[in-house]
């Protein structure tokens, strides 16, 4: 998302840093799960889905086996629907395989309060019963409001609650970086 | 009784071709003198500087609802609403419950109007018993009791044979039959004008032909019988055209149009606004233009309100279920001035002709003029005052109007009946 507001900005990661973080996570996933058997990646829309696609390519490059990838829209599982108006636009969930008994890696760009992950877990629960679910994120910025932690983290980033972390990816934003801003517009913090 | 002198007003009295500054002297309920300047000589003076002084308006078409539906209107609330609108005489339609089809109801209405002592109320009797369109009423009894005309208004006399006999028989009395021209089969189930708006809203339409078919038939019957038909609330261009030709042929045909048909079109229905549900329905702009043209060239003799009050809850229903009718007495002048006089379509003198002189003539009354000796029914108007229509402020029990929220020009300041202001 192209931000036009906010205070001073600091670049936390550049394209190269993001690339290296994803390669490292790919290796960790393979190591922890002992290969690609029964493995599938599910990215949370919008940027988590892009990162899942990239991670899948990295894993394939290392292991020479294709990995199934899906994308998940968690809008309908949000716990704040009754508190915001208008209702956010719903995108489709696109998982073209049965998740039952798979080892699922849930992928998102930023881990913050944990509420998005909670919604994603509920959504996955409605789709089937995987063997296990692990969580991979590019940035963990702290401030959890639920008992959730990531299994794979690109970068741990200590932040103020009022700050804002923007992950910008080439596919969507035509720029590749992670930026920390002293957010001026509340409500958009993540 | 003391004399009253209306000073410094602008007198508009088309019957006497007066349109200028005159003083009007009233003595014992009659017009005593009209001169450029009259000395007070002890008469009670009313300063009418800046005001129009005109003969009181005569409404040929009022629904008073009493007896039967006193929750919609009573003779008293109707008369008060009439005076607020400048009407010193109202002609009450017979579609009461029971219908005004015999002497008893006519006498009741006259007694009630006299007891209240506000506007002059003139009854219109029914043409057929129970307004059922089957059997003629006793015309002589009704006229003897004081009816100024007969009508089955609300319904047409659809049976051509019956209408022929009625027109023939009414010739004895030299009084008109007022026809609500509508072919009941052509408009069956219809709730608004048949046109683009009804098509869009999915509502059943009433075509203009539903009216003009009956106008054509009755013109032919006038020609056949030599009788006098007066067409109520004209709405379609075709009707105007046929009446124009009938008049040119010298037939005894008169007609009226309402302020709402002159000012509004079917667009006023908007998104199912029941306050614009009226019968005949508000029609297309071409129809409205034809009505205005008919008014200007004399085809349409007068403006009548078709004041049709209903309760709030009835009008709050969905469009199909809500009753037809507009509460019109209190907005008539403002609507006419705004729609006709302000744009220069009608002069003040022509407007008074349509609201006072001509309807009085059709009703066979001596009023409608400021001639010496005529009843001192006088209305004082502020021609420039602008006001906003708020139906909640209506005196009438019918607090519904398609003009709600609109700004109108021209307001009634004072209405005198037989020289007295009954409001005081």
């Amino acid at each position: 998302m192209v931000s036009d507001t906010g205070g001073p900005k600091a670049k936390i990661m550049d394209a190269e840093a993001i690339r290296r973080a994803l390669i490292r996570i790919a290796h960790e996933i393979l190591e922890r799960n002992k290969g690609t058997g029964e493995l599938a990646l599910i990215g949370i829309r919008t940027r988590g889905a892009i990162l899942a696609q990239r991670l899948a390519k990295e894993i394939e490059a290392i292991d020479r086996h294709p990995v199934q990838v899906g994308s998940l829209d968690i809008t309908l599982y949000r716990d704040d629907l009754s508190r915001i108006a208008p209702n956010p636009v719903v995108h489709s969930t696109d998982i073209a395989f049965d998740i039952t008994d798979l080892r699922l890696i849930l992928v998102d760009d930023v881990l913050f309060t944990g509420r998005t992950i909670r919604a994603a877990l509920n959504a996955i629960n409605d789709l089937g019963r995987p063997q296990l679910i692990q969580l991979a994120v590019l940035i963990d910025r702290g401030h959890r409001e639920l008992p959730i932690r990531a299994d794979y983290v690109g970068k741990n980033l200590p932040t103020q609650l009022s700050e804002r972390v923007d992950v910008r990816l080439n596919e969507l934003d035509e720029v590749e970086e992670v930026v920390l801003e002293a957010a001026a517009n509340e409500g958009a913090s993540r | 009784m003391a004399k009253t002198l209306i000073k410094n007003g602008h007198v508009v009295d088309p019957a006497n071709k007066r349109d200028g500054r005159f003083d009007v002297l009233i003595d014992r309920g009659k017009i005593a003198d009209v001169q450029p300047s009259i000395a007070a000589n002890g008469a009670k003076a009313i300063d009418a500087a800046g005001l129009v002084v005109a003969p009181g308006f005569v409404d040929l078409h009022t629904h008073l609802r009493e007896p039967g539906r006193e929750d919609k209107e009573t003779v008293e609330t109707g008369c008060r609403a009439a005076l607020r609108g400048g009407f010193t005489t109202i002609c009450a339609m017979p579609n009461t419950t029971p219908a005004m089809d015999h002497r008893g109801i006519v006498d009741f209405l006259k007694r009630e109007a006299e007891r209240i002592g506000l506007a002059d109320v003139r009854p219109i009797g029914a043409i057929t018993k129970g307004r059922e369109g089957k059997e003629l009423t006793d015309f002589a009894e009704l006229f003897d009791a004081g009816c100024i005309a007969l009508s089955d208004d609300g319904s047409a006399v659809a049976d051509g044979f019956l209408m022929r006999r009625a027109l023939e028989y009414a010739k004895i009395f030299d009084r008109p039959l007022i026809q609500h021209a509508e072919d009941p089969l052509l408009s069956a189930g219809g709730v608004m004008h048949e046109g683009l708006v009804s098509t869009t809203l999915g509502l059943r339409g009433i075509p203009g032909a539903s009216e003009s078919v009956l106008v054509a038939r009755d013109i032919a019957l006038c020609e056949l019988t030599g009788g006098w038909v007066h067409f109520a609330h004209l709405s379609s261009a075709k009707s105007v055209e046929m009446i124009r030709q009938a008049k040119q042929r010298g037939l005894q045909v008169t007609c009226e149009a309402t302020p709402h048909h002159l000012a509004l079109t079917h667009e006023a229905v908007g998104e199912f606004d029941t306050s614009a549900k009226v019968n005949p329905p508000l029609r297309a702009e071409t129809d409205r233009q034809a009505l205005i043209e008919g008014l200007r060239d004399g085809t349409i003799d007068c403006i009548a309100t078709d004041h049709a009050p209903h309760t709030e809850w009835e009008k709050a229903a969905d469009f199909d279920a809500a009753p037809f009718g507009i509460s019109g007495l209190e907005t008539a002048l403002g609507v006419c001035v705004q729609a006709l006089v302000v744009p220069g379509l009608l002069s003040w003198s022509q407007l008074v002709e349509k609201l006072s002189m001509n309807p009085a003539r059709i009703a066979g009354l001596t009023g409608g003029t400021l001639s010496v000796g005529a009843p001192a029914d006088v209305v004082l108007l502020d021609p420039k005052r602008q006001w906003s229509v708020d139906p909640k402020q209506f005196i009438s029990k019918g607090r519904h109007s398609p003009f709600a929220g609109q700004t109108l020009t021209g307001a009634v300041v004072n209405a005198l009946v037989r020289g007295m202001d009954p409001a005081q």
Binding site: M1, I44, R45, T46, D73, I74, T75, L76, Y77, L81, S82, I84, A85, P86, N87, P88, V89, V90, H91, S92, T93, D94, T116, N122, A123, D126, L127, G128, L172, D173, G187, A188, R190 | E194, G195, L196, S198, T199, T200, L201, G202, L203, G205, E271, F272, W313, E314, A316, A317, D318, F319, D320, A321, A322
Partner: protein, 326 residues
């Protein structure tokens, strides 16, 4: 995620209307938003657990003053798949003082704090009347011969799904246009999205001046058949026959009924649509209704997704104070 950015980065319209009363009052962007949202909802019905928690805690009332099984069931399932609580109220409404009863019923529901009212009524404008008086969101499930917005939206969705586009297509709507709310809503929707609309039927069933809405009218079926990418057939109402609009159903079928033989003169990839229930052997021959061109059952499936989208969107609209005594 709070983003309203789509995958290709374009900003989409947001839904801010309290009610869904008709397609006449929607912009092309709003129509596209409903279709896009419905596309997202379609997948839910294919899951083993066909339910999402989006409208948990919301109360929806199906208020049907006119009998209907299909539309009512579709709304009911849509509400349930969104985890809303739904109550069905069917009243046949006495013909006397109908309006009073309608408003009284609604005031009672209002007192029970209902979030969405889905309304079907035989009189045009009833949902509009109620929407003006009610805090609850109102979805018009068919009002007289006026509008049936969710039917038209599911028709648009189905055309989009099968043809890949709506703009530039020619859609022929055939039959009783005059009494059809489906026709009116589809005329608005199709023309707003750039389709060409041909209305076809006997003159007695074509309402006056309808060409002013940007459609073409023909009384000859062959003309409509030759040009149409989509044939949308309407139900002939048996009960209207008393009004002498067509001399007989048989004569209607001979002139305007679609059978295999007639279909030979249509485009090879033509779609046959019908809002149901079909009068087999009147407007549509059984062989055609069940044949390869027919997408009638897809319409039913898509109707569920479209109604889920409608419920989701209106129940998220910003709340506004309703004008007193409106």
């Amino acid at each position: 995620m709070t983003t309203t950015t789509t995958a290709n980065g374009t900003q989409t319209a947001q839904w801010i209307k309290k009610d869904l009363l008709g397609l006449q009052s929607l912009t092309a962007e709003e129509i596209r938003l409903v279709l896009q949202t419905a596309a997202s909802f379609r997948e839910i019905s294919l899951r083993p657990i066909k339910k999402v928690p989006a409208l948990r805690g919301k109360t929806i009332v199906n208020l049907f003053f006119e009998p209907s099984t299909r539309t009512r069931t579709s709304f009911e399932l849509a509400a349930k798949r969104l985890s809303a609580d739904i109550v069905n109220i069917s009243t046949q409404g006495s013909s006397l003082s109908k309006g009073e009863t309608v408003l009284d019923t609604v005031r009672n529901l209002e007192a029970l704090k209902v979030d969405v009212l889905v309304i079907r009524h035989a009189a045009a404008g009833v949902p509009h009347l109620i929407a003006r008086q009610s805090q609850a969101s109102v979805i018009n499930a068919g009002d007289g011969a006026h509008e049936h917005p969710t039917q038209a939206l599911l028709d648009l969705f189905t055309i989009q799904e099968k043809k890949g586009r709506i703009e530039g297509l020619t859609v022929a709507i055939i039959g009783d246009i005059a009494h059809s709310r489906v026709a009116r809503s589809n005329i608005w929707g199709l023309t707003k999205l750039g389709a060409r609309v041909i209305l076809c039927g006997p003159p007695t069933l074509i309402p006056t001046q309808i060409e002013a809405l940007g459609v073409k009218v023909t009384h000859r079926l062959e003309e409509a058949l030759a040009q149409a990418d989509v044939l949308m057939l309407l139900r002939i109402q048996h009960e209207r026959q008393e009004a002498v609009l067509v001399p007989s159903l048989r004569e209607f079928r001979l002139r305007y009924g679609i059978d295999r033989e007639r279909l030979k003169s249509a485009k090879p990839d033509v779609l046959i649509m019908h809002p149901g229930p079909v009068n087999r052997g009147v407007e549509l021959d059984s062989a055609v209704a069940d044949g390869p061109y027919s997408v009638i059952l897809d319409q039913v499936t898509n109707g569920l997704a479209v109604r889920m989208a409608a419920l989701y969107l209106v129940s998220g609209a910003p709340k506004v104070e309703v004008e007193e005594n409106a």
